[in-house]
């Protein structure tokens, strides 16, 4: 992961198991706001806030109209809320360690309009799906595995996203855009960054999924769970021989 500024062309958008960046023209704002309660008394030195009453959202996705399978037009057709991941690559395609905005949002609309002759769509997303709340209000995590195909278990070392272990849990987010059978996607952690040191991070697993386009998930682990310093992705192939996926982890 490089550091520094970047350009919008390095933003990627994954939602509901679809890769949408080739259709998207803009998205945002990526919202992370906390309510401020107007209950401040005269004796309070600072105005109070509500630290766990967050509003999250990804604003409006504006994109080109494309009804090709697994493109933007497929998204509103599938019912329910959508797991969304927005990795931001730093002057290059997103790589492990790059920031990712994550969440589960409903689509509030799907508006096809004309823009200078081209057919474009505006897709406003709503707040976090209240039927699928988790015990965390932080949307920003780090990319563990950029979109790509894997055909074997991971024996590589991981990334150091925080510089130290934490004990406040977190959640794993994944999107599968292609595959040919069953597989399990996991996040592993380790105290030292060597292959033998990694083991499964308890609870951070997709479970057995049928890998195909349109598969995604957001899996929270316990709020007091220990997460060791180094993180990496892992895959257990069932009947699948190849799975194309992206994984992020939000460490609290």
């Amino acid at each position: 992961m490089a550091t520094g500024r970047t350009l919008q062309k390095w933003v990627r958008i994954y939602a509901g198991g679809y890769e949408l960046c080739s259709d998207a023209r803009s998205i945002g704002p990526l919202i992370w706001q906390y309510d401020i309660a107007d209950l401040t008394t005269m004796c309070d030195e600072v105005r109070g806030g509500l630290p766990v009453h967050a509003r999250l959202g990804i604003g409006v996705l504006n994109g080109v109209m494309d009804n090709t399978a697994s493109h933007l037009h497929d998204l509103p057709i599938t019912s329910g809320s959508h797991v969304v991941m927005i990795p931001i690559g730093i002057r290059a395609a997103p790589a492990a360690g790059d920031p990712v905005y994550n969440g589960r949002f409903y689509i509030d609309g799907y508006e096809s309009t004309d823009d200078g002759g081209a057919s474009v769509v505006n897709v406003p997303f709503g707040d976090w799906d209240v039927a699928n709340l988790i015990n965390y209000s932080k949307p920003w995590g780090i990319l563990i595995h950029p979109l790509g195909a894997e055909t074997a278990v991971n024996t590589a070392i991981g990334i150091d996203d925080r510089g130290a272990a934490t004990a406040l849990g977190g959640y794993m987010v994944y999107q599968v855009t292609a595959g040919n059978g069953t597989a399990t996607i996991k996040v592993q952690d380790a105290a030292t960054n060597t292959n033998p040191s990694f083991s499964d991070l308890t609870g951070a697993t997709s479970g057995v999924i049928t890998a195909a386009a349109g598969v995604s998930g957001l899996v929270a682990i316990g709020v007091t769970a220990d997460v060791r310093r180094y993180l990496r992705w892992q895959i257990v192939l069932g009947t699948a021989t190849t799975v194309t996926f992206v994984v992020a982890f939000v460490r609290i």
Binding site: G4, R5, L7, R91, A92, A93
Partner: protein
């Protein structure tokens, strides 16, 4: 990050376009012959235009984040005018090379020295001169470049 015009021109000269010679900033020819064509090189008169700097953050010049944009003009020579049996024998080849060069720029994901590069314009299709004043079928291709400073 500092301005890197030499690196950028070197990167552009490293683009691969079949049948087209792309010259670096230090390779501008003094004169072109028919055997050198088709060739594209930094246009000596008016190579850099529309230079603009936008300050993106607080701080002194050594620390403030700045975005610099400018245009680079390259001249493509397809063939000497009158080199074929007809006046426009080589015209189509020249146009194809211009578009092949633009295609190569459009396909750039990352390029050493710069943050972003896009074709901005293609002008002067028709008779153009080489640095020595010889007449060629050619055109100018203008590339819009973005660099980050600090």
């Amino acid at each position: 990050m500092t301005l890197a015009i030499s690196t950028i021109c070197d990167s552009i000269s490293s683009l691969s376009v079949s049948g087209l010679t792309i010259k670096d900033l230090n390779e501008i020819p003094e004169a072109i012959t028919g055997r050198d064509c088709p060739v594209i090189y930094p246009k000596p008169d008016g190579f850099v235009t529309n230079f603009e700097m936008v300050r993106n953050s607080f701080g002194g010049g050594s620390t403030a984040k700045m975005t610099v944009t400018y245009d680079l003009t390259y001249r493509l020579l397809g063939a000497p005018i009158g080199a074929g049996r007809g006046l426009f024998d080589s015209y189509s080849l020249m146009v194809e090379k211009v578009y092949a060069f633009i295609d190569a720029v459009l396909a750039v994901d990352t390029m050493d020295g710069l943050i972003d590069i896009v074709p901005a314009d293609a002008t002067a299709f028709g008779p153009v001169t080489d640095p020595a004043g010889g007449m060629f079928h050619g055109a100018d291709v203008i590339l819009h470049v973005m660099e980050f400073v600090n």
